[in-house]
Subunit: 430 residues, 2 copies
C-alpha cells in the first residue's frame, strides 16, 4: 500500500495509517476521558479534531459523538458513519494532506504521545457474552474434564455455545488482577476447601465490540450480522480452574471467571481488518439456515501469549495461536445470539472463547498447555509453570501482516496480585 | 401500627404508608422519567418533593438524587440515606403532618394518580445475576432432567449456585414478550429442529436490587451483606425449556432465558420488609465460614401466579408459593457473589431463582407444575396448559400481611406474543 502518514511510523508499529484503531484516553486524572485513534507513537484526540470542524462529512459534521467519555455514541451511528470517520482520518493523517500536517497549533493540541496518556475502557459495556468457538479448545477441555470418549458435547457442532459473563469486572489492559478466593471440589465427605485459587489461568481470546444493536424481539439476519460489529480487541478471560470445576454444573461458569476480564485498549475496526480476511473452516454438519452465511470468513490474526514472572525483565512466549482457527465465525455468533429476540446494544462485548489451534504450541490457556497441571510448562531454564503464580504478568499481542505494514492490536496485559488478606477486605462504602 | 396517611388507602392496598416502595414513572412520553413512591392510588413525585426543599435531612438536602431518570444515584448513597428518605416521607405523608396535607398546590403537583402514569425500569441494571436458591426447584428440575437418583448436584448444598443473566432484555411489567425461536434437541441423526419454542414457561422469582456496590477485589463480609441490598422486586424469568435443554451443557442457560425477563415496577425496601422477617431454613451441612450468618433470616412474602388466556377476563391461579421457602438467604447470595472479588454496582439485580415450595400447588414454573408437560394443568373447566400459549398473560403478585395493613409488591405481568414472522424480522438501524 502506498498510503502513508506525515507522522513517522516505525515499520514494526502496530498503528500505521492503515489501522487507526479507536480508544479512549486521559491525559490527567481530573480531565475527562475522550476518544482517540492511535497513529504511530501518538494518539490523535478526536474531540479536538471535531472541535476544529474537521469531521465535515454529512453524517458526522453535526455530531457530538467524539465529545463523549466513551465510544458508544459513535458506535451507535452505524457502518456508514464509521466509514466516513475512517475516510476523514486517513485523509487528514496522510502525507499529502496539509490541513493537519501544516497546522502546528492544531498538531500540538491534537497529537499526544502515547506515553503521556492513560487508556481507559473504550466503551461502556452493558452486557458481555463469551462464546466457546474453538473446536480444539472444546475438545481439549472436554477430554480433561470428562474423558476422551466424545469430548465435544453433541450440541457444539450445531450452535455457537456461549454464556453470559460479568460486565462489571471487565478492566483495561494494565489493571492488576487480585487472585480470587473460593470453594473447590471436596475430597470425599470433607467440606469443600476454601482459599486462594491454586489453578489461576489466562484464556487467550479476542472479543467483538458490537456497534449497532437490535431491538428486543427482532433477530439479526446472518448476512447482515457483520454490519453490527464495529471491531475487535484482545481479551484475557482470567479463569480460576479449581473454582470453576466445582461450581459450573449445572448453570455454567460464575465465580471462576467473574473476578476479572482484561481487554486491550484499542478497538481495531473491521475496515482495517478487511485485507486479512481468510476462509473460515468448513463446517460439518452444515449449519442450520439461520447460521448459513453467503460467504464464511475468518481473519488471519497472529496471536501470542507471554508470561513475565515477578522481578524478571524477560517475558517468555508460552503460546502462538491465530484467530483463523475459530470454527464459528463472528456473524454466526451474533446471529445466533439474537435469533431468540435477545437485544444487543452498542458497546456489548462478544468474546470468542479461548482460541486454541491444532498444534501443541498453539493452545490458548495453561489448562490445555499443562494438561490441567499434569505437565508443567517450561518458561526458561529451570523455570516452570503449572498455573499462574503471584507476580506473573501475562501479555497478549495480536497482529496482521500487510504488505509493508502491520495492523496490530497492541497488548493486553495484566499482573497477578496475591489474594486479599482478611484485614484488607474492607467494604466499599460511598 | 397506628401510622396512617392523610391519603386514603384501601385496606387491601399494597401501598400503605408502611410500604412506600420506590419506582420511576413518566406522565407523558416526552417528559423525562422521575422517581416516586407509591401511596394508595397515587405516586408521590420525589423530584417535586426535592424541589420544594422537603428532603431536609443532612444526607439528602443538597442531593440531586431524585432529579434523575433512575434510582441508581439514590441507591449509591447507602442505607443511612435510605433511612433518612423513609423517615422524611413517612412524616410528610402522615395524617398528623400539615406540610403536604394542607398545601393544595404542592399536593396537586406532587401526587399523581397511578392510573395516569407509565412505570419504567426503576434502575439502570448493569449486571443481572440469577441464583438457584430453592431446594424444591433444584430437586424437581434435577429429577426431570437427570432422573430421581441424586437429583440435586453435590455442590448445591455448599454454595448458592448462580449464573450471569442477560441485563439488556430485562423489561418492566406490562411489556409484551415475543415467543422466542431457537434450536431444540434433535432426534437421532436429524438436524436440530428450529422454530418457535414449544415449551415456553414462566419462572416465579424475586430479585434483590443492589444498593451500594463493592470495589473489584474487595469481597463483602457476610454480616455486612444485607446493608448492600436496597430492596426487592417480583421477577418473571421467562424460559424456553426446549431451547434451554439443548443448549445448556456445558456453559449454562443462554438463549433459553435471554429473550426477556420481567420485573415489577416498585422496589419494596428492606426497611418496609423488616416486620416480615422469619427464620431461614436450617442448613445442613453447615455453610463454610464465609457464608455463615450471625442470624439467618428470610422474609414471609406470599406469592401467587395467575394465567389469563387470550380473550378471557378471568385469570386462573396456578401457583401459591412463598419467599420463605428459599434455602440460601439474600446475604449469603451477595457474600458468595463477591467472595472472589467480583464487584457489584448500584442497581445490579440478583434473582433468587424459581421459588418453589414443598407442596404440589407451590411449584414456581410450568416445568414443575406439569412435570415437563406430562401432566397438563387444569386452569378451568376444560382449559389446560402444558406450557404457555400465545396470548396468555402471566401475572405475579406478592404481599406481606401486617397488623391491619399489607405491604405488597403490586403485580409483575407479561403477555405472550406469537413468534416473529420472517417478514417482520427487520433489523434495527439507527
Amino acid at each position: 500500500m502506498d498510503l502513508k502518514s506525515f507522522i513517522e511510523v516505525q515499520p514494526d508499529s502496530h498503528f500505521p495509517i492503515q489501522n487507526l484503531p479507536y480508544g479512549v484516553f486521559r491525559t490527567a486524572p481530573d480531565l475527562p476521558p475522550r476518544p482517540g485513534v492511535a497513529i504511530g507513537e501518538y494518539v490523535l484526540d478526536l474531540s479536538e479534531i471535531a472541535s476544529a470542524g474537521l469531521f465535515d462529512g454529512p453524517l458526522l459534521k453535526n455530531s457530538d459523538c467524539f465529545n463523549q467519555p466513551n465510544l458508544n455514541k459513535f458506535l451507535s451511528l452505524g457502518r456508514p458513519a464509521w466509514k466516513e470517520a475512517r475516510a476523514t482520518l486517513q485523509k487528514l493523517l496522510s502525507s499529502t494532506e496539509p490541513t493537519l500536517r501544516d497546522n502546528e497549533a492544531l498538531r500540538l493540541k491534537s497529537l499526544i504521545p502515547l506515553k503521556q496518556v492513560n487508556m481507559v475502557l473504550p466503551v461502556a459495556i452493558h452486557d458481555y457474552t463469551d462464546f466457546f468457538s474453538s473446536m480444539h479448545h472444546a475438545k481439549n477441555c472436554g477430554t480433561i474434564f470428562r474423558g476422551p470418549v466424545d469430548p465435544i458435547v453433541p450440541n457444539w457442532f450445531h450452535l455457537p455455545i456461549a454464556y453470559h459473563g460479568r460486565a462489571s469486572s471487565i478492566v483495561i489492559s494494565g489493571t492488576e488482577i487480585v487472585r480470587p478466593r473460593g470453594q473447590s471440589r471436596p475430597v470425599g465427605d470433607s467440606p469443600p476447601p476454601f482459599g486462594p485459587s491454586a489453578k489461576l489461568d489466562f484464556e487467550l481470546e479476542m472479543a467483538a465490540v458490537v456497534g449497532t444493536g437490535n431491538l428486543l424481539g427482532k433477530p439479526v439476519d446472518i448476512n447482515e450480522a457483520e454490519d453490527h460489529i464495529f471491531g475487535l480487541v484482545l481479551m484475557n478471560d482470567w479463569s480460576a480452574r479449581d473454582i470453576q470445576a466445582w461450581e459450573y454444573v449445572p448453570l455454567g461458569p460464575f465465580l471462576g471467571k467473574s473476578f476479572g476480564t482484561t481487554i486491550s485498549p484499542w478497538i481495531v475496526t473491521l475496515e482495517a481488518l478487511e485485507p486479512f480476511k481468510c476462509d473460515a473452516p468448513k463446517q460439518d454438519p452444515a449449519p442450520l439456515p439461520y447460521l448459513t452465511e453467503k460467504e464464511s470468513k475468518n481473519y488471519d490474526i497472529s496471536l501470542e501469549v507471554r508470561i513475565r514472572p515477578a522481578g524478571e525483565s524477560d517475558a517468555h512466549i508460552v503460546s502462538k495461536s491465530n484467530f483463523k482457527h475459530l470454527y464459528w465465525t463472528l456473524p454466526q455468533q451474533l446471529a445466533h445470539h439474537t435469533v431468540n429476540g435477545c437485544n444487543l446494544q452498542p458497546g456489548d462485548l462478544l468474546g470468542t472463547g479461548t482460541i486454541s489451534g491444532p498444534e501443541p504450541e498453539s493452545l490458548g490457556c495453561l489448562l490445555e498447555l499443562t494438561w490441567n497441571g499434569e505437565k508443567p510448562l517450561e518458561l526458561a531454564n529451570g523455570l516452570h509453570r503449572k498455573f499462574l503464580e503471584d507476580g506473573d504478568e501475562v501479555v497478549f499481542t495480536g497482529q496482521c501482516e500487510g504488505d509493508g505494514y502491520t495492523v496490530g492490536f497492541g497488548t493486553c496485559a495484566g499482573k497477578i496480585l496475591p489474594s486479599a488478606e482478611e484485614k484488607d477486605l474492607i467494604n466499599y462504602k460511598s
